[in-house]
Symmetry: C2
Subunit: 263 residues, 2 copies
């Protein structure tokens, strides 16, 4: 008898984000779902973990017939607690994170709590996918995302991904009939152009508040931002190896031959 796959669902927008609800709606038809999500918004938390204070976790009754827990920590903490405490090291067949309210394309994989949760699952040997919709609105329409999410989840549950890997999936803000399909992409070269809004608080102290816009420096047509701008769902297969392999040989010659400072 086929056992239902165990699916862990998390996000960075918190337990009551509509994007999480939309993701649970898809997942509940594909397996046994357990939700462990932050008890407050955690956007931009990156791969932060809570080391210097305790973490709390509480069962909450949010989704009918689904075990859900809110956690006081970061998205990465949620995955760690889910695996070791909530699920007591049961085998998790898939971790899905999102649906994020807003894009996590390009280098935003590094800043995003949603993607860092997916990355943490991958580090723990759990196949994982992070989903983001290019719409920051609280009332965003997640319905067109759902069939693509189902397709990609089934692909991974059916053996389409290796352990330790993850997908960074971004979905354009379009009606279903205008989405042109899936593009498998590399991560676009881009960066945030920061601006800091300067202000003075009610006590007369100066402060800075981070804002900015994203700039793409990439002429290719094989990257995720190109795919999104052209109406595709972008899938970037990702991995936690940040080694710049192309530089290894050249640097070995340059650095390993330096006389050691001690000599």
């Amino acid at each position: 008898m086929n056992k239902k796959p165990l699916i862990l669902v998390t996000n960075d927008d918190g337990m009551f984000a509509p994007g999480l609800r939309a993701l649970v709606e898809v997942a509940r038809n594909l397996g046994e779902v357990v939700v462990v999500a932050p008890d407050s918004p955690q956007s931009g938390q990156g791969h932060a973990v809570t080391l210097s204070e305790p973490i709390r976790i509480n069962a909450v009754d949010v989704f009918p017939e689904i075990d859900a827990y809110e956690c006081s920590g970061t998205p990465v903490d949620c995955v760690k607690l889910a695996k070791h405490i909530v699920l007591k090291d049961r085998k998790i067949d898939l971790c899905i994170s999102g649906i994020n309210h807003g894009s996590n394309a390009s280098v935003n994989i590094l800043y995003s709590g949603t993607m860092s949760a997916a990355m943490e699952a991958a580090l723990e040997g759990i196949k994982s996918i992070g989903f983001s919709l290019l719409d920051f609105s609280y009332t965003a329409d997640f319905a067109p995302s759902q069939p693509y999410i189902k397709t990609l989840m089934k692909f991974v549950l059916n053996g389409g991904m290796q352990k330790g890997h993850l997908f960074n999936v971004n979905i354009p803000k379009l009606p279903l009939e205008e989405i042109r399909g899936i593009k498998v992409c590399r991560q676009a070269h881009g960066r945030w152009i920061e601006e800091f809004v300067e202000g003075t608080d009610p006590r007369g102290e100066k402060y800075y508040w981070l804002t900015g816009k994203f700039e793409v420096n990439d002429q290719g047509s094989d990257h995720d931002i190109w795919a999104l701008e052209n109406g595709y769902v972008s899938v970037v297969p990702s991995i936690h190896d940040l080694t710049n392999h192309a530089e290894l040989d050249h640097l070995r010659q340059a650095l390993e031959t330096i006389k050691t400072p001690a000599s």
Copy 2:
């Protein structure tokens, strides 16, 4: 006339960490140094940025004849504020982060605030190096690290690194004469084996506190943990591209041919 290079120094252990002081001591002989460091310890903050609250920055008189600023945000915030507010978009020739109290080898590049600050600099087009000593102690001896740090900084200042790149440098806890030199390495495969210490707080509420030990799953002798265990300073050339390039072709065939859910 040769202008002195502009060197930004930051860390994640905070303005008063001895590792920061040891790094400033080296940097001050190589250029004009500006320090922007967190006003509190920020270990494990990863690539977190402060989005939902203001950030404060204050000049502090900590290092003789060196401009230093403490910042209420994360290590990544420090780099952003340094570039755009403190240095008003002057060209930064090198960003160095550390010296971290404790290893940032292997996948710890993702969890580490020290390495995320270096990564953020790289994302902003600033050449950067993160340094870590394999000694958590507050009274760690940073002296044997300093000649290696000087060597690597000079290498980068003399044109040895491309824009957008960074080095993850870890230094073994050894006397200078026992350090065998520099090894250029790939990032080791490894992961944290988590344990959560369960407790009850004074108000009777249950909590969890993250701990764990690091496990290396890598038989190679070309990775950073091997180098450190064998007495070398490890240098991992790193980059912010997390794309799993090896999987692109195979996944294009598998995923782009799926009938679109809309059809």
